[in-house]
């Protein structure tokens, strides 16, 4: 497809057999694409290989088969083009918040002088609201603040794409909400392309333009691609007042509660094609969908036009 920034084609991961066991196919034939500036969340139960997919995108893991192409080039190994926010913040505990960000910035632009690096680091620490805590060590920061440093570190290298591995999983609900808002605030103006793993349906609905639903592993697949039909300028406080809110939420919860397992047991819908999983727009009729940019099927395949632009 033209205009896709990231293309994932036929990704399969097989883990070598444990002693006396059979090889384990975690997921197979995973295809999806992400456009520039799109925020994509992936949801699925534990064991469906979400983290492995993210690690493959990051270049930290290798797929057994399949390719990942980003910006016209095949992904092979880690790169500064892709910033990663790790699940457990992964800050270096012997460095201050500032030095953790500085380490990344210096890696990205080794030719910069000290002053330029300092200004750049401060800018990103300010963006995540950490001004005043720059010189604290990670052990002196709360869980939410640690994850903020992790986000600042990933954003500061200005990657073409940001990969978030369930970044708010360990945080309490209040903190999570605050940081979600901040993430939206940072991503929206920069049109950052994001791929994020989450377990939280509401989080996905708040942040994502598109939600990939994975069936249960082993042999997990992308079962559906759900278009988030809520208006782009949504906030946590207005989210649940949108008319489509419950339609989308119910659709996602239904999937996680029942269909993810049925699909894993082989009950995939008719005409299921792993190369282009069904695209659904819960809460929108065909008419509304076309108004908002979802233009139905062309040659039997669902086609999506630039949803964000039409919604904005």
């Amino acid at each position: 497809m033209i205009g896709e920034f990231l293309k994932v084609e036929g990704l399969t991961k097989v883990f070598p057999p444990a002693r006396g066991g059979a090889p384990l196919t975690v997921f197979e034939d995973v295809h999806f694409a992400i456009r520039r500036g799109e925020f994509v969340c992936i949801i699925g139960h534990s064991g469906c290989g979400k983290s492995t997919i993210l690690n493959i995108l990051a270049g930290l893991d290798e797929a057994t088969t399949g390719v990942v192409v980003m910006d016209g080039r095949e992904v092979s190994g880690p790169s500064l083009d892709r910033g990663v926010v790790f699940q457990g913040h992964a800050l270096m505990p012997w460095l201050s918040a500032y030095s953790n960000v500085e380490f990344a910035v210096r890696s990205r632009w080794p030719e910069w002088n000290r002053g330029k690096i300092a200004a750049h680091c401060r800018q990103y620490l300010e963006l995540v609201g950490l001004t005043g805590s720059e010189h604290k060590k990670p052990a002196e920061l709360s869980g939410g603040m640690k994850q903020r440093v992790g986000i600042a570190r990933a954003f500061a290298i200005q990657p073409k794409m940001l990969l978030l591995d369930e970044p708010f999983g360990a945080l309490d609900a209040l903190t999570r909400g605050l940081i979600q808002d901040e993430l939206l605030k940072i991503c929206a103006p920069t049109h950052q392309t994001v791929f994020m793993i989450t377990h939280d349906v509401d989080e996905a609905m708040l942040l994502a333009d598109k939600i990939l639903l994975m069936s249960n592993g082993p042999r997990a697949r992308i079962a559906e691609i759900v278009v988030n039909t809520l208006p782009r300028e949504r906030t946590r406080s207005t989210l649940h007042k949108e008319p489509q809110y419950y339609a989308i939420r119910n659709h996602l919860v239904d999937f996680l509660m029942t269909r993810s397992k049925q699909y894993a047991d082989g009950a995939l819908p008719d005409h299921y094609d792993s190369r282009s999983p069904p695209v659904v727009t819960p809460g929108l009729g065909t008419h509304l969908a076309s108004v908002h940019g979802y233009v139905g099927k062309i040659a039997g395949k669902p086609v999506l036009v630039n949803l964000r632009n039409t919604l904005n």
Binding site: A58, G59, F86, M92, W94, A104
Partner: protein, 276 residues
């Protein structure tokens, strides 16, 4: 009632010390009766001195005497305690530094490469349990120089804890920190110095601390064998002089210096330890 535990512990220590001195004092009082009963023998032996262990007061005098003039040099068999300690410390320092120079880079290599780890492991397992003093004859024969041989013995005993701790520390650096370095395309050298070294530093310094403790134990024995100079030779020489005062003083000195070295590495450990 609620005095801080540090103060109470200090008071208890002082009380125990006083008790120890008192027991020592009374145990070593000159046995008057025995001397009277066999005064003839005592006279033949050339004096009224008790033949038992020195009293605390005598040891106190010895300590004052040595500490007030630590650097005199009256020939090969009569040097101040400061000079003897300096010889021992120089040997320990040289052997330890050489060991660190080899063990830390090699430990890095072993920690980073499972292949090197497996290849070198049999050698390490065989060499590690050998008493460092068992190397002495071979060292004397090969090096043909007694003081250098004692440096070699210090080297060989210091190398193992540092090597194994460095390898362990490097091998157990958290994967996520290495992943961060990978995603930032950090080069091998920068990764070693900015990520692996600080991450493994507490384990490495602990290894150095263990090595230093062993080196200080071994130097005394090595110098007893090799002779000439050093605190170990001082102990042996004073034993030959039958000067138990000096022997006891040397034992105390070895303990105090060993404690000081350990405190130094303890302080270094705290410096590189990071809270998680």
């Amino acid at each position: 009632m609620s005095r801080p535990i540090g103060l109470r512990a200090a008071l208890l220590s002082i009380a125990l010390f006083a008790l120890l001195i008192a027991v020592w004092h009374f145990a070593t009082l000159p046995a008057e009766k025995a001397a009277v009963a066999d005064s003839e023998y005592a006279r033949l032996m050339g004096g009224k001195k008790s033949a038992g262990l020195p009293t605390p007061a005598q040891i106190g005098e010895t300590i004052v005497k040595h500490v007030s003039d630590p650097l005199y040099d009256n020939g090969p068999n009569d040097k101040g305690i400061g000079i003897q300690l300096a010889y021992s410390m120089a040997r320990v320092g040289a052997g330890f530094a050489l060991a660190a120079l080899l063990a830390i880079p090699l430990g890095f290599l072993i920690g980073m490469s499972p292949l090197v780890h497996r290849a070198l492991n049999p050698f390490i397992q065989v060499l590690k349990p050998i008493s460092p003093l068992a190397w002495m004859p071979l060292a004397l024969y090969t090096i043909k120089d007694a003081p250098t041989s004692s440096i070699f013995v210090i080297f060989i005993c210091s190398v193992w804890p540092m090597l194994l701790n460095t390898a362990h520390g490097v091998a157990s650096v958290r994967r996520e920190w290495l992943d961060v370095a990978k995603t930032l395309e950090v080069g091998a050298l920068r990764r070693a110095f900015r990520v692996v070294l600080p991450a493994a530093a507490p384990t490495i310094v602990t290894g150095m601390r263990i090595s230093m403790g062993i080196a200080w134990l071994v130097i005394v024995a090595a110098e007893m064998l090799v002779g000439g100079t050093g605190i170990g030779y001082f102990v042996w020489n004073e034993w030959n002089n039958l000067s138990l005062n000096n022997v006891i003083f040397a034992i105390l000195t070895i303990g105090v210096v060993g404690m000081a070295l350990d405190l130094m590495f303890g302080w270094l450990t705290r410096l590189v330890t990071y809270p998680e």
